[in-house]
């Protein structure tokens, strides 16, 4: 406790604290207002497809035909929803084992090479613009797939592979943090029982860090789900559910970016795109909730 004659000294600090509080409050208020207005804007636009233009919600979510300019126009977004889910989940299936193994190498096997060489490379990978990924995908992955598999090379497989490389840094970084924060005692405990390094990684390190690994994977899926440009360049952009991984397909994001410039604000075609954006946004919320739930479980 301060003595009473210290009060004069304390007053300016109180003022400082007040300024700090107000300043931080304004910042957070600004953030909250931005987020809420975005949600409101997307929701009002996206919902007006159903409320103003009278498109059936069920038709949009489960319809297989997307013909906004048809007579009558059809707004079946299921091919896009399918495309978004299949590319991002497939990307995670490719990237998760790679990311985990890279993290194991960096933390368990060779921390020196990991810190001095691999860490910067992964950070670099995260910083490459998505158009570059898309370009590389278009000029390397697509021709390769065209040679090996039937079809044009574009499609879900190409999209997923490009996305896998894009989300690899996210998954690797989180996996690395998870491994690094594992209490040293657990590994020693396993070694002291006569376990080999591989057994320790497989039986102790992996299960103990699983919730954190899952967080990384879901974050990766969320990023893949929202990625537009790179996917759009390699997926072919045909609005139907493909019969194979090497057939042209479409995602929610690629549908929006491709058509946004060609529709008039307020038209049903434009509103339908907003509905796709609304679906994307809702999915992002779902991913955030999953991540929060996983984070809670991590504490055990």
């Amino acid at each position: 406790m301060k003595k009473s004659n210290d009060r004069e000294v304390a007053t300016p600090h109180l003022a400082e604290e007040w300024v700090g509080k107000v300043y931080t409050f304004i910042c957070i208020l600004f953030l909250i207002i931005t987020i809420f207005s975005m949600v409101y804007f997307v929701a009002s636009k996206g919902l007006s497809t159903f409320l103003v233009n009278g498109v059936n919600v069920k038709d949009l979510l489960t319809g297989l035909k997307w013909k906004p300019d048809g007579e009558p126009p059809m707004f079946g977004a299921l091919p896009f929803i399918f495309g978004s889910f299949s590319t991002s989940i497939l990307a995670a299936i490719i990237a998760a084992p790679l990311g985990f193994c890279a993290a194991v190498f960096m933390i368990e096997l060779s921390p020196k090479i990991g810190r001095t060489f691999m860490q910067p490379v992964i950070e670099l990978l995260a910083g490459i613009p998505s158009v570059v990924y898309g370009f590389v995908g278009l000029s390397v992955v697509v021709p390769l797939f065209r040679d090996i598999f039937p079809g044009q090379g574009v499609g879900i497989a190409a999209g997923a592979l490009v996305l896998a490389f894009m989300i690899l840094p996210t998954i690797t970084t989180i996996a690395t943090d998870a491994l690094a924060s594992l209490p040293a005692g657990l590994k020693e405990g396993s070694y002291a029982l006569g376990a080999t390094r591989w057994q320790t990684i497989y039986r102790i390190v992996l299960p103990t860090t699983l919730p954190a690994q899952m967080t990384g994977i879901v974050l990766g899926i969320a990023r893949a789900f929202g990625e537009a440009l790179a996917v759009q360049m390699v997926i072919g952009n045909a609005p139907h559910i493909p019969h194979s991984l090497f057939q042209s397909a479409s995602t929610l994001t690629s549908a929006i970016t491709l058509s946004m410039g060609n529709t008039a604000m307020g038209s049903v075609q434009n509103n339908a795109l907003w509905s796709l954006a609304l679906i994307l946004m809702m999915m992002t919320f779902v991913f955030v909730f999953i991540i929060r739930w996983l984070e809670g479980r991590k504490k055990l």
Binding site: L186, E188, G189, S190, Y191, L193, G194, L300
Partner: protein, 252 residues
């Protein structure tokens, strides 16, 4: 004095440039408790960790000299470290149960070493928990998380886990220093019982504990063994002045 379970001959341990353990030669008798005492940083834990080659895990660490079990030197390059560590169990200062059920914690080691038979595993789990005097407290919750146990229970679980692979020697690195007095006395009772079946080497800061549980005591100072003798001799009639100063609390 019985058979020699484990003996160190001219053991030196270096961390990079730092010479942590100097020319230590100690014999550990079978089915006895040997206490290693000394001030912090005197090299006793480092020495203990060399005995089951846990120092291999520290990249900058280098060990020279011999550690003999029977007629084998475990520091030789061709030693099967897995078999060695199965033979020499270890318990740490902080309980480190795996994030698994109580049952899985115990069954973990035996599974590594190839025991898959459910019945056999059940028997090992029960026997190990009984030996570690924690069976009564855990038998109704074997499949619950081990992390829900108290610190003292976790430590006994870790001892049970070490016993489950049927070692001959158990190394304990200040096994009770993170525990409350009641848990500590339980661990001490347990050590006294365990020495009927196992040779135990225990590092401790608590001199009363060393006096209570051990048959022999080695006093470490600055990486050297100053004195090694029967515990009652060390604590009542040490031959070295420095030992006397330490146990009477004049330094350390």
């Amino acid at each position: 004095m019985g058979e020699i379970a484990l003996s160190a001959k001219k053991l030196n341990v270096y961390y990079g440039e730092k010479h942590a353990v100097h020319d230590v030669s100690l014999d550990f008798a079978e089915k006895e408790v040997t206490a290693l005492i000394g001030p912090s940083g005197c090299g006793k834990s480092t020495f203990l960790r060399s005995l089951n080659r846990m120092n291999d895990l520290i990249p900058s660490c280098r060990v020279t000299g011999e550690i003999r079990i029977g007629d084998r030197d475990i520091n030789e390059g061709n030693t099967d470290v897995v078999a060695l560590r199965k033979n020499i169990g270890m318990v740490w200062q902080r309980p480190n149960p795996f994030h698994k059920s109580i049952y899985e914690n115990i069954a973990f080691g035996p599974r590594y070493h190839g025991i898959k038979n459910k019945k056999q595993l059940n028997d090992i789990v029960e026997e190990s928990l009984r030996k570690a005097a924690i069976w009564e407290e855990t038998k109704d919750r074997l499949h619950k998380s081990a992390l829900a146990l108290s610190g003292g229970q976790q430590q006994r679980l870790c001892i049970a886990r070490a016993i489950a692979v049927k070692p001959e020697v158990i190394l304990m690195d200040e096994p009770a220093s993170a525990l409350d007095p009641i848990s500590t006395s339980k661990i001490e009772e347990l050590i006294s019982e365990l020495k009927q079946d196992y040779s135990i080497v225990i590092v401790t800061h608590n001199m009363h504990q060393a006096a209570r549980v051990s048959n022999k005591t080695a006093f470490f100072l600055n990486g050297h063994v100053v004195e090694y003798d029967k515990t009652e001799v060390i604590f009542t009639n040490p031959s070295e002045q420095r030992t006397n100063d330490y146990i009477t609390g004049r330094f350390g």
